[in-house]
């Protein structure tokens, strides 16, 4: 079954509202990566988190890696129409050589 769970599956917001997607693993992760896929496009790498409790920011995007390295979140402040797309987390399971993707959160925005 799916080892990396991502919620919500869909999120619709008004432009300017904040957005958060959550990623949870049943097992400890070596690292977590986040990707964005625009409609009709391919996944594009955004960032990688490796350390327990790590927080990284990219302009309006804030990425967190949980203390137990089992969960992660992506928060977008004041969404813009250019943020539309599906956001995927992907984790490497500790002791494994496999990058496992979550199901993704599809973000749509009402301008």
């Amino acid at each position: 079954g799916q080892q990396v769970m991502q919620i919500p599956q869909y999120q619709h917001v008004q432009e300017g509202e904040d957005f958060t997607t959550y990623c949870n693993s049943s097992t400890t992760l070596s690292n977590i990566q986040w990707y964005k896929q625009r409609p009709g496009g391919h996944p594009v790498f955004l960032i990688q988190l490796v350390k327990s409790g790590e927080v990284k920011k990219q302009k309006r995007l804030t990425f967190q890696f949980g203390e137990a390295k089992k969960n992660s979140s992506l928060h977008i402040t004041a969404t813009q129409t250019t943020d539309v797309g599906t956001y995927f987390c992907a984790g490497t399971l500790q002791g494994a050589q496999k990058l496992v993707f979550g199901q993704g959160t599809r973000l749509t925005i009402n301008p």
Binding site: N31, Q33, G41, H42, P43, Q48, F88, T92, Q97, K98
Partner: protein
């Protein structure tokens, strides 16, 4: 974007026929991966390669085989296509192992009728 080309971009094939998808890279990256993307499942790893003639299975490898005879090319073959293999297939490349960032190709939309 990284130099990755997938071909064909679209294909419709009949159940029971063999199909080969090609991934070509110009980056000389060691690692290459094949994923399939289906609604509600995200991206699932089919097979990956960590060098010429070195391949291994991913999560959903049944019904698929791969070959890598050159660094730049990674082929995915559906030996006998089934309707359950209708999907969007993405090739990705990476500089390191499976824990390093992946650069994706444009995808191949395969329909098995």
């Amino acid at each position: 974007d990284a130099g990755i080309t997938q071909s064909p971009r679209h294909k419709v094939t009949e159940t029971g026929t063999p199909v080969t998808l090609r991934c070509h890279q110009t980056e000389n990256h060691r690692y290459m991966y094949w994923y399939r993307q289906d609604p509600g499942h995200g991206l699932r790893l089919i097979h990956y390669s960590y060098g010429v003639k070195d391949t291994d299975k991913g999560e959903v490898s049944d019904g698929y085989s791969v070959s890598r005879s050159k660094t730049e090319d990674f082929l995915l073959t559906l030996e006998s296509a089934t309707s359950s293999q209708t999907s969007v297939y993405f090739c990705a490349i990476g500089t390191g192992g499976l824990g390093t960032e992946a650069f994706f190709g444009q995808g191949t939309r395969l329909t098995v009728v």
